[in-house]
């Protein structure tokens, strides 16, 4: 039997016009991205009949579309998922749900699956937009699938985190603020720490400028950047390429390891071995594992929070 919460959420979500507005805005912004990138290249005279420049344009378009898609996912997930549990509390529908035979994890899973389903719908609906880039050349089908898969992966993990976070607030407004704050932190905290530690390293004058590279890898942008832009760093810049380049540099500064800062004991040695063989542990895998661990930890806390009988009224 389908999870009852998932069934109800999908029915409610698709019944309101909001879902279609979100879908429309999502697609419109992606189409606008394609248009602007294309126009930009046209005005700089880069669009020529030769295959090389067309291929380069296809690649650029693809990366820009994925980047904008990622930004939209990072923007829409908090808005769409923040009220998952907080909304139930605010509407006073959580108590009747908690006295049914549904387990707390089923409630949370239903909410997460509902959020994920909608995001996957958004991403699948955007496939025709990415096909424009494919037609121009420069990317293979597998590149396209990997890129969209990475965005889906980020969407799934972020949805789990935001839905879990939603169990800790009573009001949708508070939950939404918290969700956007958390997402901003998730994206910015690693790079900010990396830069801060880099400055600190430089100020000592004795140490190399090598803050832990893993700080950059455990990041939604890094996961998508490593999958999509890692294969080709030539041509005009875009945020995914800059992120990918930063990852490569950070790793190089750390003796080609994400975990170089680990203490030289058995565990550290094992991690470093894993890291180097064969050809290094990819950034997207490091990022995915980090985000997955965070999502699971948050979901575990959320299930505890939803469990009844509770110590205090929530």
């Amino acid at each position: 039997m389908i999870n009852p919460v998932l069934g109800r959420e999908l029915r409610e979500r698709m019944r309101t016009g909001r879902a279609f507005v979100v879908l429309g805005v999502f697609l419109a912004l992606l189409i606008l991205t394609v248009y602007l990138v294309y126009q930009g290249r046209e005005t700089t005279g880069l669009i020529q009949v030769d295959l090389a420049s067309q291929t380069q344009l296809g690649r650029e378009l693809f990366e820009w579309v994925l980047f904008v898609m990622l930004v939209l996912v990072l923007f829409f997930v908090p808005g769409l998922t923040a009220g998952a549990i907080a909304g139930e509390r605010e509407r006073q529908t959580l108590l009747p749900l908690q006295v049914t035979l549904l387990r707390p994890r089923s409630i949370l899973i239903g909410k997460v699956l509902a959020g994920m389903s909608f995001l996957v719908l958004l991403i699948v609906a955007a496939v025709p937009v990415t096909i424009v880039a494919y037609l121009l050349g420069g990317i293979r089908i597998i590149d396209g699938l990997k890129g969209l898969g990475a965005v889906c992966l980020v969407a799934v993990l972020l949805t789990t985190m935001i839905a879990s976070l939603s169990t800790f607030t009573r009001r949708v407004q508070t939950a939404t603020l918290l969700a956007y704050g958390f997402t901003a932190l998730l994206v910015l905290i690693g790079p900010l720490l990396y830069l801060t530690l880099g400055v600190a390293d430089r100020s000592t004058g004795t140490d190399l400028r090598n803050p832990p590279a893993v700080l950059l890898a455990v990041n939604p942008v890094a996961v998508v950047a490593d999958v999509t832009a890692g294969v080709n760093l030539s041509g005009e810049g875009n945020p995914l390429r800059w992120a990918s380049q930063s990852l490569v540099e950070a790793r190089a500064n750390n003796d080609d390891s994400w975990f170089a800062w680990f203490p030289p004991d058995d565990i550290g040695a094992r991690f470093r071995l894993l890291d180097r063989d064969p050809g290094g542990f990819p950034a997207w895998a490091v990022g995915t594992i980090g985000l997955f661990v965070l999502a699971v930890a948050m979901a575990w806390l959320a299930v505890r929070r939803l469990r009844t009988p509770a110590e205090v009224e929530r």
Partner: protein, 311 residues
């Protein structure tokens, strides 16, 4: 309290001995719930007999909703023990949930669902197989008189209808016990009467009903037993009339005579009431056409017992 007129009950022969205490639907022993230094429920000893319509009465902050939340397996007591239909909700919450339907004091409904979808959702949440949904929804809607609203959106229902829909939701898994927290709040008089009749029907079907309400007259008409709480403490419990008798509280009897005259008398118990009737009919030789204990017993009881303590 029975709907039977007081004067008929008074003239009946000696009542037989009360039956042995029926098995309890809810039994609380020294039940306590504390929030810091505040005792929301304070060493509550309470027995709710199976098959009763039990009214839990008390001013705001008396601990009624907290007691209900503990009963409904939503809240863990700080100390003490409670069993609901024989199971401890802190140890076997799912057993309790199978046997109990709970309607909280706030009317939370999903506005973007149709009435039948709403009930089907809860049927699914109780693990009822899809093949049974249609008949179940039909039966529930008929019971709460919402059949004509089957395909209406929940947000188009009036408050009274939403209240009845919530009751149908609490009944979706056919529980033996219904715990209803302020189900009549915000309802107009007609909706209240309809709800009262509905609860009576459910009781006649063998369900134990535990209800809290601020509308004492309504509970008085409906409840077989009541408990009065204040500041988390139980002040009295039992059939309202028995409590009044135990307290020796004065009551007013209105008498109407054949000549059209009417008088009110104050008596303290059944004996005095009988003596009054004897004096009027036998000693004074007056023709009594009506001898009624004035309504307001529960209200009087409430006012006598509670002190208006605010925690």
């Amino acid at each position: 309290m029975s709907a039977e007129p007081e004067h008929v009950a008074l003239l009946e022969a000696d009542t037989p001995d009360p039956p042995a205490e029926p098995q309890a639907a809810v039994r609380a022993e020294q039940l306590t719930k504390r929030y810091g230094t505040l005792a929301a429920v304070d060493h509550l000893d309470l027995v709710i007999p199976r098959g009763s319509i039990f009214g839990l009465i008390g001013p705001n902050g008396a601990g009624k909703s907290t007691t209900f939340a503990i009963t409904a397996s939503l809240l863990r007591p700080t100390s003490g023990r409670i069993t609901v239909m024989g199971a401890d909700p802190t140890v076997k919450p799912r057993t309790v949930r199978r046997r109990m339907g709970y309607m909280p004091d706030n009317l939370g409904v999903y506005d973007n669902l149709r009435v039948d979808e709403y009930l089907e959702f809860f049927a699914a949440s109780y693990g009822i197989h899809r093949s049974e949904w249609s008949a179940l929804v039909d039966g529930l809607l008929e019971l709460v008189d919402l059949t004509v609203k089957r395909t209406a959106m929940v947000n188009s229902l009036s408050r009274g209808m939403k209240q009845r829909l919530s009751l149908a939701r609490a009944l979706v898994h056919d529980p033996e016990l219904l715990v209803l927290d302020e189900p009549a709040s915000g309802l107009d008089p007609r909706a209240r009467v309809e709800l009262r009749e509905l609860l009576r029907s459910l009781n006649a079907m063998g369900k134990t009903i535990v209800i809290s309400s601020h509308i004492l007259a309504e509970l008085e008409e409906m409840c077989t037993d009541v408990a009065i709480m204040e500041a988390g403490k139980l002040l009295a419990a039992g059939p309202p009339r028995e409590i009044l008798q135990q307290l020796g509280g004065a009551r007013t009897v209105r008498v109407r005579f054949a000549d059209g005259a009417a008088e009110s008398f104050t008596v303290s118990d059944d004996e005095q009431q009988a003596a009054l009737l004897r004096r009027l009919v036998v000693d004074d030789g007056r023709q009594v056409v009506e001898f009624v204990e004035e309504s307001g017993g529960l209200e009087q009881l409430f006012m006598t017992l509670t002190e208006g303590i605010v925690q």
